[in-house]
């Protein structure tokens, strides 16, 4: 029991008195809106007040504890942010490799502490820039990478043994990670020294982001290959970033984001154990997570705190992990793109700052803050600087990093954390009953749950039940234009020229042989990573590698559920 009996008794008396008073007041002065509209952005009902009775069933040791101790509600790091702030990691990529490399150097100069790569759509989908499917897309949403030559330009002057780099790449993750490994090798840096993350989370692609290539089963096999390769040869690399971000952006609730992401994580753990026979403690410490920080402040904090506790329980009790590091949930956070508005875009600075603060109070290890113009285009230098400064102000001016998990013990925050956890477990058990996440995806379960939530939210916005300032309230007649970054169509032409130049100069016989070897490895079920590294070193392109996967494993098409 969390409180002594006399505290609860006293509270009950005082609470009664307070409730009587509330009834008296609202009889004369009604609330501004009805009860059911006092809810989170995810439509979770929130009470007017929380008190001891809302958390009376908690057990201090079992449910709260201390940082660095099970169940890690209060964080993984025993020193909190005093030893090190979260990593300031701005997601960036635009145009060609040279332009992105310049942005990276700018960000590092401005105090960014980790890199994060946004690739363009052809790269993300495993197509070369000159594929007919890639027309019009080159460099638009990120950087275009076709071969190792582009990659070497991308990381030019970046100390790969000192700066960690995250790469948001999914179906072609093996190819791009192989390029990173090859680049390190060419610079004389051993694989044991490089650190970073590949997103490499295909389950959430089927659920939400829709960067699709092969069917779920072989997609997960390729992911287990990277986990195995990383565990053996690249021990500082996070081989999966199990992502809720895109699930949330697709319109899920906070609980759905939490539940589907963690259940995805469990699916990967089970696959690596089953397929590779690895001991859970050999790879689990390198699993990392990625959450969205949306606009509803306390809901986000509760979500992140609950995530740590659920994962710790799952790893210890469900998968029998013994190493405390396997129980850690380490996560990156990005503020919510979908909370930003094209209308009155400068308001986005305030939204992002609030969301970033929630992420920090939730205990994130790494953070990207969106730029005010990201709802319209790729971020400008100026907008990205404001976004980075937002993190620096939170870290170094506001004092919120002084003490660990400052909201612990709040009746409301603890009660909301418990509620998020309970509701997440309900989903997790439901998916277990369906036979796991791949089976649930094949049934369309998470996709349709998210579609329901997204539709409901849009209807609530249209009805004015949920508010977006500048969109359905305080609308301005005059739109103040802001400068937009545009990617010139010449980028595509020049990128195709570069790709063709590589194709002319490389040893095409060697490329063909490497791709044959890769195909055989796929057919035999061998780990593809060594073959990918060999192929990219011989300047095989991203598409050439992915075409092998498409040929051997087949292509997956979006079933278009709505």
């Amino acid at each position: 029991m969390y409180f002594a009996a006399e505290v609860l008794e006293k509270s009950s008396v005082l609470r009664q008195k307070w409730e009587d008073e509330v009834r008296r007041v609202i009889a004369k002065n009604p609330d501004q809106k009805p009860d059911h509209l006092w809810s989170t952005v995810s439509d979770l009902k929130i009470k007017r007040l929380y008190g001891p009775e809302d958390i009376k069933d908690m057990d201090f040791e079992r449910d709260i504890g201390y940082p660095g101790q099970f169940p890690f509600l209060r964080g993984n790091q025993v020193t909190g942010y005093r030893g090190k702030y979260w990593t300031f990691r701005m997601f960036s990529g635009m145009g060609d490799a040279k332009t992105t490399n310049a942005r990276w150097h700018l960000l590092l100069k401005e105090g960014q502490t980790g890199l994060s790569t946004a690739f363009d759509f052809p790269t993300l989908m495993g197509y070369d820039t000159d594929s007919p499917k890639a027309r019009g897309e080159c460099g638009k949403c990120g950087v275009a990478i076709d071969t190792l030559e582009d990659f070497l330009t991308l990381v030019d002057g970046i100390p790969l043994d000192r700066v960690t780099t995250s790469m948001t790449i999914n179906p072609p993750a093996t190819a791009l990670w192989a390029m990173y490994c090859a680049a390190a090798d060419l610079k004389g840096i051993p694989l044991t020294k490089i650190g970073g993350t590949i997103q490499n989370d295909m389950l959430k692609e089927f659920i939400a982001q829709k960067t699709l290539m092969c069917p779920p089963e072989p997609s997960v096999k390729l992911i287990s290959d990277t986990v195995e390769f990383g565990t053996k040869y690249v021990p500082k690399w996070n081989t999966i970033s199990i992502s809720g971000y895109h699930i949330r952006e697709a319109g899920s609730t906070a609980v759905q984001e939490l539940a589907f992401t963690l259940r995805d994580g469990m699916e990967y753990v089970e696959d690596v154990i089953r397929r590779k026979g690895l001991d859970v403690d050999s790879f689990a410490p390198r699993l990392s997570f990625f959450f969205n920080s949306h606009i509803d402040f306390f809901e986000e904090i509760a979500k992140m705190r609950a995530a740590r506790r659920i994962w710790a329980k799952a790893m210890r009790d469900r998968y029998k992990a013994k190493d405390p590091r396997s129980w850690w949930m380490r996560f990156h956070t990005q503020t919510a793109g979908c909370s930003l508005t094209a209308q009155q875009p400068y308001n986005n600075v305030i939204r992002t700052a609030t969301e970033a603060l929630a992420a920090v109070l939730g205990g994130t290890q790494s953070l990207h803050t969106n730029s005010l113009d990201e709802v319209l285009c790729l971020p400008s230098d100026h907008a990205v600087q404001i976004a980075l400064r937002t993190q620096q102000i939170i870290a170094e001016e506001t004092g919120v990093a002084n003490t660990i998990d400052p909201l612990a013990g709040s009746y409301f925050v603890e009660a909301l954390t418990n509620e998020m956890e309970e509701k997440a477990w309900e989903y997790i058990h439901k998916i277990d009953e369906m036979g796991g996440m791949i089976a649930a995806i094949e049934k369309g379960f998470p996709q349709l749950e998210i579609a329901d939530a997204a539709y409901k939210f849009q209807r609530q916005i249209d009805a004015g039940e949920k508010i977006m300032i500048g969109v359905n309230k305080y609308v301005s007649e005059v739109q103040e234009p802001i400068p937009l970054v545009e990617i010139d169509d010449r980028v595509e032409i020049e990128q195709i020229e570069r790709l063709n130049a590589v194709r002319r100069k490389r040893d095409n016989k060697a490329v063909k042989r490497c791709l044959e070897d890769l195909k055989n490895a796929c057919k035999k079920g061998e780990n593809v990573m060594p073959y990918c590294i060999e192929a990219v070193k011989n300047l095989a392109s991203v598409q050439e590698i992915c075409d092998v996967y498409r040929e051997v494993y087949g292509e997956y098409r979006d079933p278009g559920l709505y």
Binding site: F121, K210, Y455
Partner: protein
């Protein structure tokens, strides 16, 4: 005889996977009483035009958030025209900068809807501007 229901195709051209808006609209159109065909993501302009003709739709609504709309939207219209289906109306939405509107109108896109447009306003526009094809 009552007019037949409008047949509306919601389509995602190109490599963009941001399908939240497209799926919300597909559902909204269904609730509004239209017959809806949703293509799913990653359709080429050729595939969209062929499917629109095959399904005998009255309207194609394109959604693109990747910045490739200047190529993709006109390409869909062009494919429809080349296949003799220039009477199938094409509208679009997504992250479309104001300065691109005129270019898209000039290339046969009848209307553009961007974030902030309500579902009802889009349905109303369709009811006022699209008639079942003969």
């Amino acid at each position: 005889m009552a007019e037949r229901k409008l047949r509306v195709m919601v389509a995602k051209p190109g490599l963009d996977g941001h399908d939240r808006g497209a799926r919300v609209l597909a559902r909204c159109f269904r609730d509004a009483g239209f017959e809806v065909i949703y293509t799913g993501c990653h359709q080429t302009p050729e595939q969209i035009a062929a499917a629109a003709i095959q399904e005998d739709v009255d309207l194609v609504g394109l959604s693109c958030l990747s910045g490739a709309h200047r190529y993709l939207f006109p390409a869909v219209k062009k494919q429809l025209v080349e296949r003799g289906a220039d009477d199938i109306m094409v509208i679009g939405g997504g992250i479309i900068p104001d300065q691109d509107f005129q270019y898209l109108y000039d290339n046969g896109i009848k209307a553009i809807f961007t974030p902030g447009a309500t579902l009802d306003s889009i349905v109303e526009w369709i009811n006022n501007n699209v008639k079942p094809r003969e």
